[in-house]
């Protein structure tokens, strides 16, 4: 009984995560399509959404929640580094 309710709870977490991921995708498309604000501001939001989505995939879908904490920290650090690096290359410093 406890195992069944745990499974249902885990399934609900997966579906809620999928809902957030799809909403962020639709939001990204809408943000880019509306072309509101500056290119840099828009890029920060778009890549910020991508970073959030990648974290949700890594932690929930890939189940890093159950992994040794160091692996989750390394993954999070890399995704943050990748996002910040792309933004820095695109908009900071000489072309």
């Amino acid at each position: 009984m406890a195992q069944r309710s745990e499974t249902k709870r885990e399934a609900r977490v997966l579906i809620a995560t999928w809902g957030v991921l799809v909403a962020l995708t639709v939001g990204s498309f809408w943000l880019a399509d509306s072309r509101t604000g500056s290119a840099i501001g828009s890029a920060v939001w778009l890549l910020g959404f991508a970073m959030l989505k990648s974290h949700l995939i890594a932690i929930v879908f890939m189940d890093l929640r159950r992994a040794p904490v160091a692996w989750a920290l390394v993954m999070s650090g890399f995704l943050l580094f990748e996002t910040a690096g792309v933004l820095a290359i695109l908009y900071i410093g000489p072309p």
Partner: protein, 194 residues
């Protein structure tokens, strides 16, 4: 049963085993370098990249993102069902994940068809080189993912895995999520960022 966040250290383990995660690390570093290269090339020639990006179809990219995310949900649900010894649900979810991969490739091939019909090739411009090379490499990963999912779904339905033998199902799911993970960066960077 402990929730994942409160698991004690000694019960924490990498889903699918260490080898698939080392592979994930190598893949993320490789695609990460391509994304840095794309950003640097775009910085040096924004006009050519803007012109190339204007020929893409962001709506198809967004739809394909949702298709892959749905595949990710199904693969994760399949892993969960496999852990609970529900072989038929696990197999159905893995078959569903494979089907989303086929849909993704169908949409991508349609998109490539439109691009090539416009006279584009790898040598047209730096933008098109990056676009075709990086999305092509990602496409091959989707193809490989479907190639892993199909026999795993079949064997799961036959009862070859289950809670005592979860590694194969988990490793295939991790690979499938890696394909998602790469795409969620690729989509905004190539299609949306101005």
């Amino acid at each position: 049963m402990s929730s994942p966040a409160t698991l004690p250290d000694e019960r924490r383990e990498l889903p699918g085993g260490t080898v698939i995660w080392l592979f994930v690390a190598v893949e993320l570093l490789t695609f990460g370098l391509f994304f840095f290269g794309f950003a640097a090339a775009r910085r040096s020639d924004p006009a050519a990249f803007g012109a190339g990006q204007a020929q893409l179809h962001p709506l198809l990219g967004a739809v394909n993102t949702c298709v892959l995310l749905t595949g990710g949900l199904l693969a994760a649900r399949g892993v969960l069902a496999n852990r609970r010894a529900d072989a038929s649900t696990a197999a159905a979810c893995l078959w569903g994940a494979a089907a989303t991969g086929v849909v993704f490739m169908g949409i991508k091939l349609h998109e490539y068809g439109m691009v090539f019909a416009g006279g584009v090739s790898l040598s047209t411009s730096t933008f098109w080189f990056f676009y075709l090379f990086v999305t092509g490499l990602h496409f091959l990963h989707v193809l490989a993912g479907v190639g892993f999912l199909v026999p795993t779904a079949w064997r799961t339905g036959r009862g070859d895995y289950g809670p005592t033998e979860p590694t194969t199902v988990e490793a295939v799911a991790v690979f499938w999520h890696l394909v998602d993970l790469i795409w969620v960066f690729l989509f905004p960077l190539f299609y949306l960022v101005r």
